[in-house]
Symmetry: C2
Subunit: 412 residues, 2 copies
């Protein structure tokens, strides 16, 4: 049999694959007394692929990283991530600051020029604190380690309003006896909407993967994970999802996706990226519930995704979910304005498995039972549009007082 | 000179034009002790035009009214509006209920068949309480009146979570000495987003207007009023904007818009519709501020409207406005993902007249002064995209704890 075996590596993250070291340190960039600068280093040059925000206003790190990924996608050695400053809307000076801190990483670690990437998250318009970061880079370089604890420190250092660090890792064992690992970390937790968000995500692997294959794999995986989540519908200036593959697991390189090894890579990356994406939503600003929305019976998968995301971003649906109110009318309403084919006579809707609406009219369901099913940390809404074979699954969170509080007072 | 004179009629509403009577009564449909059923009647047959929601799920009253407006657009005599039930997702029975209450209006008042329209607002999925409404119609018919007080009762009766009734009226005096009046009422205050909302609006006039001219005028006016507002981005199942013209002011009928009388009609309708639309936003669920967003310098007017509406619907912008936080980064970010042409180097942004961002970078402005300017009941944001001549003005409100509270507990 050809299927790979995917084994979760509990408590592990970006250093789970061979040949990776990381650290997170408190650098005093914004948050006192907690890590806010992360450094990730590969023992050897690795291939890299990245997806960046579709926002027309792009943070400086994106403008800095993009040309490097164009010219040196097989020669990446390190990644520096800071919290506290988004380094967006900072003009040419912001991009120059990226170059300065990237060069500090390269010189401190003795790496080739243009082998370090940078990422930033935090407040828009705030420039990098370059001297502090340069000092911090030296400290970080001295504390790099391959341990799960080091990976966890890095995952902590990239947090902004996140309430917990997000990391996962899996081992992928192939039928031919070879194996490799994939680790990942991510941060949310506002400006979260597909086409990335103030979402930073990093996937590492010790598989050997050709750059163009890694890019295709990353896009496939993002379309089934980070592109399927929404916290508030705002697509940020900084969203970045990066994949790095250093080949240290041995075994032949993966040169095409449509192969047993390519499929194993996709499955492994999905096994890390999906729980990371769900965690970003679960830890969405002010969220009290993780809500999974399944749409089936749509005209096609694209329509299913659009219908599901419209429900996922409706402020009225999300506030009703905060109140655990089985207010199916708001879900039907959102499906109705989602700009996808819809026939109310064919629509069937379930809240947590309770059928609440079918064929144009509400059903006589047990409101108390439905309320109790919605008053949980994880909630599922199912919609069958009855039109075709399109399906989609997306994740969102509820909309609480706390979301408003966090975002009314973010800078104060 | 050709310009008409537009004079506000303080305290007046839908009965300000000649030949209109109205009333609002407490019918016990949902809200105890306050009006929840409104009746509006013209002394003579009038022309009618309506715009309905673009939501694919349409309330029963829309399915009932649309064919009547197709066949009898010059023979309308009455309008019945109920609060408490949206009569949406109620299937064929919901449409039959509309027919029953419309016929009760026609029979009670001795009007021709199919001369009464209906509108509903309230909770989706709740059917009309037909027997109570039939009884209420008799009571309402007995209390109809042409006074401002009667109009105010009607404006009160259509409220749901609105905190105050919304009505305006103007007199339009033409250069040729003729005059006519226009009155209007509207209700919000959730599910408010262009292409209508759980928004009901009614404009009455005693001008004589051909049906197709009235329809074109209504679309022009809606594009500059109710289509330029957002409370929560949700487009409801019930949105309806209705214009009724009974010709009782005398004077020649308006048979084309591109004429002095046509222009006067547009100006008069705008003078009523714009303050109604602004009131809907000002009274948006949980709103503490009315926010006007002007965009200029866009590639064209459509792009300007889209850019402005994207800012107007950003949860992050709206929560920052609740906190009176001059967080220009979120406005820039929203412009960036608005899917309109944007060059950050050409963008200039003002909060309440204070320039905060220009040519790709933030300016060194007085944060305290900006905070004070934003901490007002009315706030203005200006953006110049620097690309072309497109302009747009839209209105939104801030996003408060109270919005979440109202919508988490709406049905409980």
């Amino acid at each position: 049999m050809n299927s790979p075996t995917i084994t979760p590596l509990e408590g592990a993250g970006i250093t789970a694959p061979q040949g990776w070291q990381a650290i997170g340190i408190a650098c005093g960039l914004r948050y006192s007394g907690r890590p806010d600068l992360a450094l990730l280093v590969s023992d050897v040059a690795c291939t890299a692929a990245a997806l960046f925000t579709t926002n027309k206003i792009k943070a400086a790190h994106i403008l800095y990283d993009q040309p490097i990924l164009m010219h040196n996608a097989a020669g990446i050695r390190a990644l520096l991530v800071n919290a506290g400053s988004a380094n967006a809307c900072t003009g040419d000076a912001g991009v120059q600051d990226c170059a300065t801190v990237a060069q500090a990483v390269e010189q401190t670690l003795g790496l080739p020029a243009q082998s370090a990437l940078v990422m930033s998250t935090g407040v828009i318009g705030v420039p990098l604190r370059v001297p502090r970061m340069v000092t911090g880079i030296a400290t970080a370089a001295a504390h790099l380690g391959p341990t799960p604890a080091a990976a966890l420190l890095a995952a902590r250092a990239i947090m902004t309003t996140d309430t917990y660090p997000k990391q996962y890792a899996v081992q992928v064992r192939l039928a031919d006896g070879h194996s490799f690992s994939i680790g990942g970390m991510a941060k949310g937790s506002g400006m979260i909407h597909p086409d990335m968000a103030t979402m930073l995500g990093v996937l590492t692997t010790d598989a050997a993967v050709a750059p163009e294959v890694l890019h295709a794999a990353l896009r496939y995986v993002a379309d089934r994970s980070f592109h399927c989540i929404s916290v508030d519908g705002d697509t940020s200036t900084n969203d970045t999802l990066l994949a790095l593959a250093n080949g240290q697991a041995g075994g032949p390189p993966i040169t095409e996706l449509d192969s047993p090894r390519g499929h194993a890579l996709l499955q492994g990356m999905l096994a890390v990226a999906q729980p990371l994406a769900r965690d970003v939503v679960r830890d969405g600003e002010g969220a009290t519930r993780l809500v999974t929305i399944h749409v089936r019976g749509a005209a096609d998968d694209t329509a299913a995704h659009q219908a599901a995301m419209t429900v996922a971003t409706s402020a009225l649906v999300k506030t009703a979910l905060f109140g655990a109110d089985p207010n199916w009318g708001r879900v039907v309403c959102a499906l109705g304005y989602s700009n996808t084919p819809l026939d109310p006579q064919r629509l069937v809707l379930w809240f947590g498995g309770i059928k609440v609406f079918a064929h144009g009219v509400p059903l006589d369901f047990d409101e108390r039972a439905a309320h109790q099913l919605l008053d949980q940390a994880e909630v599922v809404i199912d919609a069958d549009l009855g039109l075709g074979t399109g399906t989609a699954t997306v994740w969102t969170c509820d909309f609480s007082y706390q979301y408003v509080k966090i975002n009314a007072e973010y800078r104060t």
